[in-house]
Symmetry: C2
Subunit: 491 residues, 2 copies
Amino acid sequence: MEWKELAVDAASPVPLYRQLHDHIAEWIHGGRLPDGAKLLPTRELAGLLGLNRTTVNAAYEILEKEGLLQAHVGRGSYVCAPRHAATLDWESRFRGAAPDPDLQQALWTSSEDFISFSSSRPDQEIFPFEAVSRAAAHELKQHGDAILQLGAAEGYPPLREFLHSQMREEGVAGAGDELLVTSGCQQGLDLVAKILVAPGDTVLLEDPVYPGARDLFLAAGAQVRGIAVARAGLSISELEQELSRHHPRLLVVTPSFQNPTGATIPLDARRELLALAARYGVVVVENDVYAGLRYHGDDVATLKSLDGDGRVIYLRSFSKVAFPGLRVGWCVAPRAVVRRLIAAKQLTDLHTDQLSQAVLYRLAEEGSLAAHRRVVLRHGALRLEAAVKTCRAEMPAGVEFLAPDGGMHLWLQLPAPLDSGELLARARAQKVLFIPGKFFAVSRSHHRALRLSFASLTPDKIRRGVGTLARLIRAQSPAPAEMREGVPALV
Amino acid sequence: MEWKELAVDAASPVPLYRQLHDHIAEWIHGGRLPDGAKLLPTRELAGLLGLNRTTVNAAYEILEKEGLLQAHVGRGSYVCAPRHAATLDWESRFRGAAPDPDLQQALWTSSEDFISFSSSRPDQEIFPFEAVSRAAAHELKQHGDAILQLGAAEGYPPLREFLHSQMREEGVAGAGDELLVTSGCQQGLDLVAKILVAPGDTVLLEDPVYPGARDLFLAAGAQVRGIAVARAGLSISELEQELSRHHPRLLVVTPSFQNPTGATIPLDARRELLALAARYGVVVVENDVYAGLRYHGDDVATLKSLDGDGRVIYLRSFSKVAFPGLRVGWCVAPRAVVRRLIAAKQLTDLHTDQLSQAVLYRLAEEGSLAAHRRVVLRHGALRLEAAVKTCRAEMPAGVEFLAPDGGMHLWLQLPAPLDSGELLARARAQKVLFIPGKFFAVSRSHHRALRLSFASLTPDKIRRGVGTLARLIRAQSPAPAEMREGVPALV
């Protein structure tokens, strides 16, 4: 047994004990370590791999918990191979493509000493735990029977009515619209795919786009096509081309603080988009998940509020502006659409969790959510400023980026011939993480781009992290003279 | 305008104001009440329809909230027709079949003065609100940052580990198995369909079966085929026939306290089922949603624990044994399957709500769930006894039913030529509700059968409700002599 092949990668963000565990588990599942095989004692293996013994102990302990090892006191640890080694060829039975392991790896953010720009999530340091706890106690005391009992597929009635009236005030919900509570925007997209997309249908997405939207429509069997996103959001001329040539079923768009570019579509372009959608008879899904996260300037009217003929399905969520761990979002659409979405919701998970719906209703109703949003906006503005200023001050010429007015990310373009995947490998060694552009690709490669999600980091960490990236880019950038000649136009 | 056509049905379980609201909304959406039309004053309409004025007021108020009416003080209420009357032909755009409005109607249980056997849910009178509230406060105080932050698709780590170790103790999880937290068993089925079913695939179900399972696989494009269920669960001989003739992808089965029949498959038949599944290479989904609800006798080993070659995907939930309003269940399956389910889960709703996961972890860990289950079992045994004894004492000869040892339902067969749909119409007039057999149909009609869900009703209500049904059946039953001649064999 070549125990040395269990060597781990100290530069990886994955904890060492977890890497070691994964290697050994793979050996067991793959049959390389057969049933009854004796493992090297922890002290020996630690010495061989140059690891601390507690690291090896931790890996063995998890394997034991998982039933893959059995420890006999004084005799060592023995492999318990799974009863069903590989009788069933599961891979041949799965429908659809396998998940991308590289993206999972890129999203890994659990290691504390890394500065991770990977995840588009709020800062947990500012969560108002006590208000949440009080809201839960209050709601359970008043309505515990209704909250813990089976609920309505369309949502917990008090929350649903509250949101509907808020959406009417904002001009999002019009007469004839209804509202459905969902388990976040991701489920809004899943339900839309279920009622409107059949295998082979064409769906238009922004390019680059949030991978969770792209992969969901791909899993539903759709053909996805990307429309370039520039400073002013998706390209209206390319949209018209795609609409006229490919007769898509759906156009899915995040008009405000788009993920990953941060771009916002101006009012005029929104009207053009809707006019084109009407001309070509396409349904528009407006993913407004970053609504409420504007740090500067004035909000632009939603597509839904500008919609003249009821073709926009509007999705929103508490995830970005409040707490992603409570899976509550909502959807506003014409009555006929919401009726179908409710039926699909019932088959998907019966209804959204009611404790979280009740908690968010209470927090919204008593004003705590509005107060929390003011804190979020104050923190967000500081973080955006730290990211933008550090980029401006330290990034070498040739690096381009948008400075958005809100949301959670910056989108950077490296000068040719740099590749953001290669940059990530070097950044990881310096304990800085981000998501390379290729993971957001639809029809283009985006291999020179990268997304920096700044919302969950302190301004200080943002400055240090962006500073590190700037140094790494400078170290690999071609001389300025070369650059000016060789850089292709940005799309 | 023929205002009298707005007449409502006093015998319906739908509240009168809601019926009136729905009628008027339909008239507005259908254009019968055009934009700007003036509604009859509430006093006049109430007089015309023989209703209380507060009923009419309530209907108008909801219409106003929905933006379909505008009230002008002193002048009356005017229609605000939807901006987009019917520009988009949504019906032609929807994929899949429309939901069954009759089933929705049959499930309606909100009216308090009805005795409803319709819904398979626990009794909310015994929910331990204070323990839930304390658990929420405790978890938020200790781990609020993790709970409210974006979580892991596979589940909240403490709950996931707790459940995995519980499943190992019960023999459900073996070496090589992993566990995924889901938003209830319904989502378990949805995720399984996503990774294992493509349009045109054949899926075997019990017949009769829980409609939410049937409709989910139909919506995924599957061909569903039903296998007869008798006293000892699904028919093994019919299973073999179906397996050999139709090469299904999946067999979905609830071996214990099946919904709707209450039937439990004995140990020997479970072994035969697994041997057949292995011979014909079919994946088995074991929906164990009623696990833990046995009031008498000993548990039968799960299919998962008897599974010799890793082909069983095991689903379970807190919904029936604790609180359906907290949407938390789990799935145990071989590692390769769980990896795929996790990827599908991420695209479906990112992860299950973490507040409810944390609350259920705390309640399970501190023993409160076990204590609650003892209460549930005590109450369940009394309810089952009330239902069975009243059936035995009062149902006329020719009515057949199973007396299960647990779960939430009785399945009754009426003597020919009775029809359970007709019985429901008469029962509704006596304020008793149940679900007719036809709604559980896969390949057979079940029009003489009905499901009585007893778990959420007091023994007294059960006795009164079953008594009412028995009287209605007796009133329509043919004379005993006729019956003996004419009754066809039960399947």
